[in-house]
Symmetry: C2
Subunit: 468 residues, 2 copies
């Protein structure tokens, strides 16, 4: 069921007002990762709460308690839950977004004040949170405003979950989602979930996302001397932890990205011709990779190989070395990162066995200790579910294009939280483009993505209401 | 010629006053590496200047100009030159020391105020600069005070060179030494040099030092993406600089300290039985290594192997990795350190050839660039020179022990400056013990090392006056 023409016209004629509302949202410096901005994040909770109430949504500021950050005891910003409609003949759709943002300072390299939305002549709306994730959250508000203002009933029962700690590990959200998914909770009866918090693969083609690679994060500790030693005095007298560590790190991944830990790459079956065709069809090229990274250093000239490296294969990145930059005997501590479509639980024993065996081979007197830091379970869902079919029809209606079906290389843990707590289809329906620079400087959302994206979210609700 | 008994008695009976003078010196926070303390370093130049004048030395505050540190234009603290005696029938001895110190904050882990000399019950004089190098500089002052106060002529003509930038690369000193070594300069006619600015090998046995390993410092730059990339999004899509760098670093040195760059270890001839006996005789044990480093991770159980690793073999330490700790596409930049008895000039082509060849083998699309940072030429001198013979006799007279003849693993560049500018024998005659913690927290000088060390410096002047 297409969205009413009146809705689409309303979005076009209210575009400037919608951008004005986005300016107001960007003005609130809701940086969740910096304790000094905590009041601003809480202010943002209240702003979202008032905006939702103003468009007829019944809301609840869900207290998530307190936590410790940088040694400070702080209140968590409340999550904003919303409810509109309770018609047993309608589907119930839960939408998720977050209103906290990454830190941003002009001195990081912004061309404009990051907390003042700047409209460039090319239509880019530049400001922290414009694309990640205030734009998409306000997209839902825009949709609701039409229905409230014109007294048009929504085609579905809607539930909202907007949080203010996404950029800092979504603290407190898991428990809240589990609790509210119980009978009688705010999410009871939800039929499907729509999360708008990722990006198109490129700058041209809309996307539906159906998979996440997951994450396993490790730290290898090598300890020898009790303190840093002068390399002039102690060089070639002692086993140096850095030497040991570098040699072990060198056994983890080859220069072409192949993971050398036995059994890890092998856990993922090879792609058959049919699966390769899925990647072949995606609107992406080696030039897109090169433009994104600013260098001609893609691992392959074959776009299918490169896309499979991102979407279906595990990847292993060496992130850095903790410990003294100067001084040979530094207590060196290293995190290595292994992102795989396998579960962290199944990967850990392979990583542990390999690293311990390589370390043993060295014959050093230093000590090894492997720490598992954090993990994210991989996720892949059924792209033939009515939730995806509805989103596909809606995308074609708004963009006149087939969406690319993608998986993300990273982890969006809340996806799994909803999938597990509710046992329903979760759809990732991004609003922004691949070059929005979400966690970077000069983050932007294109005006057309904001406006067409608002139409897409509304149209999705109409299509999902009849999908099967 | 032994020092007069009156001199030795004078030192004993004035010990408390000498310690009091060391307290005054420690009180001046002459941290040369921190622009905020520059006034204190200059104050220290003036203090030393006045102290020298008070014991009858003709002095000159040598202006070294200005320099830039941390973006600030600063005056360099003047070096203090001194002259006493001009008797053509006496030898002329140049003594060197420095009066600037490393930074020190209680919060670094000092048990006491670092700039207030604290006398512990075990006789340790704890304070920044007590051992490095205010104690030895004041040792010379103590010797001069006896001769001035008792109107006893010195057995030699003495020249002093005390500087205030040693901990910050001895800026300006090279040019000054070259200039003053010319005919008519302050160092014209110098017959030998004595530098007291290093340490005993252990805590028991005095030392004469006759060699330095030298230093070559490199930085390997691997550059790929134009900016940091999200490893979730770009992992296994691009050549990661960290992967390349770790693999190249892994080819430089093995876990037992053997340098894998072809030709570098081979430049040093093996030790014959006779040379091994030199190391066998040194008062040192594996337990001394383990006590120093706080762990049982010495490279060998054979003390001769461990001492040769420090004193005659090149060593290669991997110091760290510059670049983002987080983010797979970091522009990673790594310093590797190769300390060898070979000259930096002869080592560079070997290092360059090896690293470039290993990088080429990787087949990565990233770019490599090797930077040579700084170097120090190695130095070994003749231990049978009369300068060393005199120091040996003086050591036996004061400590009733044969000194250990050592080489240092690090570099003390001023040694080479004097050796080259003057073309005379340079002796390193340390005052402090191996556990003084020169650049570390709770730096100390043992009372007995300060007092016996003062006697040693004075006795050395008497022995050197007749040595041949």
């Amino acid at each position: 069921m297409p969205a009413p023409k009146e809705f689409l016209d309303f979005v076009d004629s209210n575009a400037d007002a919608f951008i004005q509302r986005l300016s107001e949202a960007v003005l609130i410096k809701s940086v969740s990762g910096d304790p000094t901005y905590r009041d601003e994040v809480i202010k943002m909770s209240n702003w979202i709460n008032q905006q939702l109430q103003a468009v007829g949504v019944q809301t609840h500021l869900a207290d998530l308690g307190r936590h410790t950050m940088d040694g400070q005891d702080l209140p968590l910003p409340p999550a904003v839950l919303g409810r509109i409609g309770n018609d047993p003949n309608k589907k119930t759709v839960l939408v998720y977004g977050h209103f906290d943002v990454q830190p941003a300072l002009v001195s990081d390299g912004w061309n404009t004040d990051p907390f003042k939305l700047t409209i460039l002549p090319n239509g880019q709306l530049v400001g922290r949170g414009s694309s990640d994730d205030k734009g998409p959250v306000l997209g839902w508000l825009n949709v609701l405003q039409y229905h409230h203002q014109t007294k048009t009933p929504l085609p579905v029962n809607l539930r909202c979950c907007f949080e203010g700690m996404e950029e800092s590990g979504s603290e407190g959200l898991d428990d809240l989602v589990k609790k509210e998914s119980q009978p009688g909770g705010w999410f009871d009866g939800v039929d499907c979930v729509c999360i708008s918090d990722n990006y198109w693969l490129n700058t041209r083609t809309p996307v539906l996302t159906y998979g996440l690679r997951g994450l396993s994060y490790y730290k290898i500790n090598v300890e020898g001397p009790a303190r840093d030693l002068h390399s002039g005095v102690f060089g070639r007298m002692v086993h140096e932890p850095m030497t040991d560590l570098i040699r072990v790190m060198g056994t983890l991944v080859d220069v072409n990205g192949k993971i050398l830990i036995p059994g890890v790459d092998e856990m993922v079956a090879g792609a058959d011709v049919e699966e390769r065709q899925l990647y072949e069809k995606l609107d992406y090229s080696i030039k897109d990779v090169e433009d994104s990274i600013g260098a001609a250093t893609a691992l392959s000239d074959d776009k299918v190989e490169v896309l499979m490296g991102r979407m279906r294969m595990p990847s292993l990145s060496l992130h850095g070395i903790e410990g003294a930059f100067y001084g040979a005997g530094a207590k060196t501590v290293i995190p290595a990162k292994a992102c795989t479509p396998q579960s962290p639980e199944s990967v850990l024993p392979l990583v542990k066995a390999h690293i311990e065996s390589e370390f043993k081979k060295l014959g050093t007197k230093n000590k090894l200790h492997l720490e598992e830091l954090h993990g994210g379970t991989p996720w892949v869902t059924d792209i033939n579910h009515w939730n995806f079919k509805a989103a596909k029809i809606a995308t074609k209606a708004i963009y006149n294009q087939e969406p690319d079906m993608t998986r993300e290389g990273g982890s969006i843990p809340v996806t799994l939280t909803f999938a597990e707590a509710l046992g329903v289809s979760v759809l990732l329906l991004p609003m922004g483009r691949g070059d929005d620079g979400a966690h970077s400087t000069n983050e932007k959302l294109d005006r057309s993505n904001y406006i067409q994206g608002t139409k897409l979210l509304g149209t999705y609700l109409y299509e999902v209401s009849v999908a099967q």
